[in-house]
């Protein structure tokens, strides 16, 4: 059973990590598409509309990937985590079902209209369809984060006669304080992915001296929205999440920070490797008293270390949790630097000619994907050993009759299938970038016609 537990965890972790590559971009791009369509509506400048159409094609590929990899997530609650579903389905099923009923219907209906119906709609009508796609995708983000937030910080429930968890207050589930901050933080992460991708593609066009008018629009849009998102990512949203963890998951905080000894004026580790066996942080590079200040706004505040908690309460992969958290924070800091410098150069009207900065923007494209993944790993590994924090242990949540062998079989099946999907995705997205926002200008007409006919 112990063995099956590990496979079921990896099964969910792998499929959700791969899945989230796509929504983080589409949620971010949905906002940027509204930005481009609004620009077109206001200025009537056709190049904004072509820009929107170009990003809509990339959106479409990513959205399709998100849909096909998203369905397995809902199924896995039942297939791999049956005991958890039986206990908690009455609560988290609410938000999951609402996601289908309120956001997926909205999103899929208007995406069809947005992608296929431009000729049939007025300008305003087409703008509206883009806005509804944005609304649907951001609503779905909220409902799924609210589901996770309840697992992180369960509220509004009572226990039934058979140990099942029953919902006692609908609004308590929906407006969980944990959900509000986690949502803001998650969506800003998605916006940053969208911004870095848009700016990165723009930088690619400027560096290669093609489609430069579009390149400038993409870089400008990405940087302007991105600089705001990067700053808000740190504060207040990241900060507030940290304080919620301090208050409700103190052992998680200690593990994230690699803090073993309880102390007044606890330092913040910038670098270092947690050594679980000897209960210390190897090669630490620390800022004295900083952790106390960040968590309690007091330089001398007392912060509890791992040693003050029984070991069976510790997250079970402390080193990975520590690295995920530090990768997320480190990258987030780099994003602020990149975006602020870019925005400054943009203001000084030097960005489009600063090749070094364009290079940095182009090469940064993979980084927000890593940061978003690391952020989710921090949240989910930090919740361990609990599946529902303080209420149900992860080990008690798996399907009792699905053994390790069957779980391995389907996990490897997913790995193979997703490898093929990943190659296809890269190929198709690269192809769209290569064709560019104005296919007619770069190709002979017949090929361009075929492409646009998609």
């Amino acid at each position: 059973m112990e063995q099956a537990l590990g496979v079921h965890r990896l099964h969910f972790a792998f499929t959700i990590t791969f899945h989230y590559i796509f929504p983080q971009l589409t949620m971010g791009l949905a906002l940027l598409l509204v930005y481009l369509k609004t620009k077109f509506l206001r200025t009537g400048d056709e190049h904004y509309n072509r820009s929107a159409r170009f990003w809509a094609r990339i959106f479409g590929i990513n959205f399709a990937m998100g849909v096909v990899t998203g369905v397995p997530m809902e199924f896995q609650f039942g297939t791999n985590w049956a005991a958890f579903s039986r206990a908690a389905g009455g609560v988290i099923g609410q938000t999951l079902a609402m996601e289908g009923v309120f956001s997926f219907f909205l999103e899929s209906s208007f995406l069809g209209i947005f992608l296929f119906g431009e000729k049939k709609l007025s300008r305003m009508g087409h703008w509206f369809s883009a806005f509804m796609v944005f609304l649907g995708s951001w609503l779905s983000g909220y409902l799924i984060v609210a589901t996770d937030a309840w697992m992180q910080h369960p509220t509004s429930y009572t226990l039934g006669p058979r140990g099942e968890i029953q919902l006692s207050n609908f609004w308590g589930l929906l407006i969980n304080k944990w959900a509000l901050w986690q949502y803001a933080h998650t969506m800003l992460g998605a916006v940053q992915t969208g911004c870095f991708v848009m700016a990165g593609v723009g930088a690619f066009y400027l560096l290669t001296h093609r489609d430069e008018i579009y390149g400038r629009t993409f870089v400008k849009g990405g940087v302007l929205v991105g600089v705001v998102a990067a700053i808000l990512q740190l504060s207040p949203t990241g900060d507030m999440q940290g304080r919620l963890i301090t208050e409700h998951q103190p052992v998680t905080l200690a593990a994230m920070e690699g803090l073993f000894d309880t102390q007044n004026g606890a330092p913040l580790a910038i670098l270092g490797q947690p050594d679980i066996q000897h209960r210390k942080l190897d090669n630490p590079l620390e800022i004295p008293s900083m952790l106390s200040f960040l968590t309690y706004r007091k330089w001398t505040a007392n912060v509890r270390g791992l040693n003050s908690f029984p070991e069976d309460q510790w997250p079970d992969t402390i080193a990975l949790l520590y690295y995920s958290y530090h990768v997320m924070v480190g990258l987030g800091t780099i994003f602020i630097a990149v975006m602020v410098v870019s925005a400054f150069l943009l203001w000084r009207e030097k960005l489009y000619s600063s090749r070094w900065m364009l290079w940095i923007l182009m090469l940064s494209v993979p980084l927000p994907y890593i940061a978003n993944t690391a952020g989710w790993m921090t949240a989910e590994l930090g919740r361990q050993p609990w599946l529902i924090y303080g209420l149900m242990r992860t080990a008690h949540g798996i399907s009792p009759k699905v053994g390790a062998g069957n779980a391995w079989f389907t996990l490897i099946g997913f790995m193979g299938l997703y490898t093929v999907l990943a190659i296809l995705w890269l190929f198709l997205v690269y192809r769209e970038i290569e064709l560019g926002p104005d296919p007619g200008a770069n190709l002979d007409t017949e090929t361009a016609v075929l492409i646009a006919a998609d």
Binding site: G60, I61, A64, V67, V68, T69, G70, V71, P72, E74, F75, F77, G78, T79, A82, S85, R86, A87, A88, G89, G90, I92, G93, Q94, L96, A97, M98, E99, G100, F102, F105, S108, S109, F110, G112, I113, L115, F116, G117, K119, Q166, L167, S399, P400, K401, V402, N406, T410, F414, L417, L421, L424, L428, R431, T447, A448, L450, A452, A453, D454
Partner: protein, 348 residues
């Protein structure tokens, strides 16, 4: 409250079968009715803007099942572990083939995705039929409330059942025939030219298979699941559901002869609705019958607590009104025959 949700979920699943059913049917007949690239684009264009929204009915019904009957979701999904994973893989292949086929024009790329689209749709139709048959036949639930079914055992309806046995395969074939007919009627209605003609011919031919298989499956199902006869005796009014199916099936042939494409498709919808609601009516109050009846999951033993079900009803009604609005809007926007355009800004 449990009974209300039992029927609401049955309706959601029926809508899923009606809508995604024609997508799957169109996929299953893709290689048969469309020969050239332009013809295949016609078939794809007939479902392109709607298939994703149609699939959402499965996701929404799944989510609703999850919160209304958590114990059913847990037992059923983990018990059908292997076939469900394969359904997921097939859904992935189906979705990607529709979305990615038209991105590249090549003598290798297009036929490959056409084949994947056809094969995955076809297999999904069979899988869904077999899945439904598994529920009707009953699964090896035990005192723990869980089961794990192998893909097949000895193909008999004993205690040691598998996903595939003679009965579930038979229903799987019926499901394929029904969705082929349903999809052919959709393609008939949404396209013109040779594709539409071939689809009409196919629908007329497969109708006879549907008729024969419906008669056989109905007869044996009364033997396989005795609850159905019991329910019909208790509530004779339930007979109206199978009669709807019969009327629908007759209507399909009648309207095909009269060349009324729309009415033929809607008659097919009526047939499918009649069949599915008959099954649901037949197994009630069980939601997952067990081979050993004492372990069957029923509406009452599987439902969530009443507060959640009541509050859920409020948002569910609101959500369904909205969803109906979106769907009406989308289907009206793409009403009429599809046109495969070849102009620089056209979006087929």
């Amino acid at each position: 409250m449990g009974i209300v949700w039992f029927w609401l979920i049955a309706i959601m699943l029926t809508v899923y079968v009606l809508l995604d059913g024609f997508d799957l049917g169109a996929g299953a007949i893709h290689l048969l009715v469309a020969k050239t690239d332009e013809e295949r684009r016609q078939v794809l264009a007939s479902i392109g803007p709607v298939w994703d929204g149609n699939e959402v009915w499965l996701i929404a019904a799944g989510g609703t099942l999850y919160f209304a009957f958590p114990a059913l979701y847990a037992s059923g999904f983990s018990g059908f572990y292997l076939p469900l994973m394969m359904v997921l893989w097939l859904l992935i292949l189906r979705g990607t083939s529709i979305e990615f086929r038209n991105h590249v024009k090549s003598k290798v790329w297009d036929p490959l995705w056409d084949f994947v689209f056809c094969a995955s749709s076809l297999l999904l139709a069979v899988f869904f039929g077999a899945a439904l048959a598994n529920v009707v036949r009953g699964v090896p639930l035990d005192a723990s409330g869980y089961f794990f079914e192998p893909l097949w055992t000895n193909f008999q309806l004993g205690d040691d059942v598998g996903i595939l046995d003679w009965y579930t395969i038979l229903v799987g074939v019926l499901a394929l025939a029904v969705l082929v007919m349903h999809g052919a009627l959709w393609v008939r209605m949404k396209t013109d030219g040779p594709v539409s003609e071939r689809a009409a011919t196919l629908a007329r031919r497969v109708w006879w298979a549907v008729l024969a298989l419906t008669a056989i499956v109905t007869t044996v199902t009364f033997q396989v699941q005795p609850q159905i006869k019991e329910n019909l005796t208790t509530w004779p009014l339930g007979l109206i559901l199978p009669l709807l199916a019969v009327a629908g099936l007759a209507g399909v042939q009648f309207e095909l002869i009269k060349h009324d494409e729309r009415k033929a498709f809607f008659a097919s919808c009526l047939y499918i609705t009649g069949m599915l609601t008959s099954v649901v009516f037949g197994v009630f109050p069980m939601v997952l019958p067990a081979r050993n009846p004492i372990y069957s999951l029923t509406v009452n033993s599987a439902k969530a607590a009443d507060y959640g079900l009541e509050v859920g009803l409020t948002w569910w009604i609101l959500g369904m009104i909205l969803a109906t609005g979106y769907f009406t809007f989308v289907y009206r926007s793409f009403a009429g025959k599809v046109v495969v355009e070849k102009d620089p800004h056209g979006h087929t």
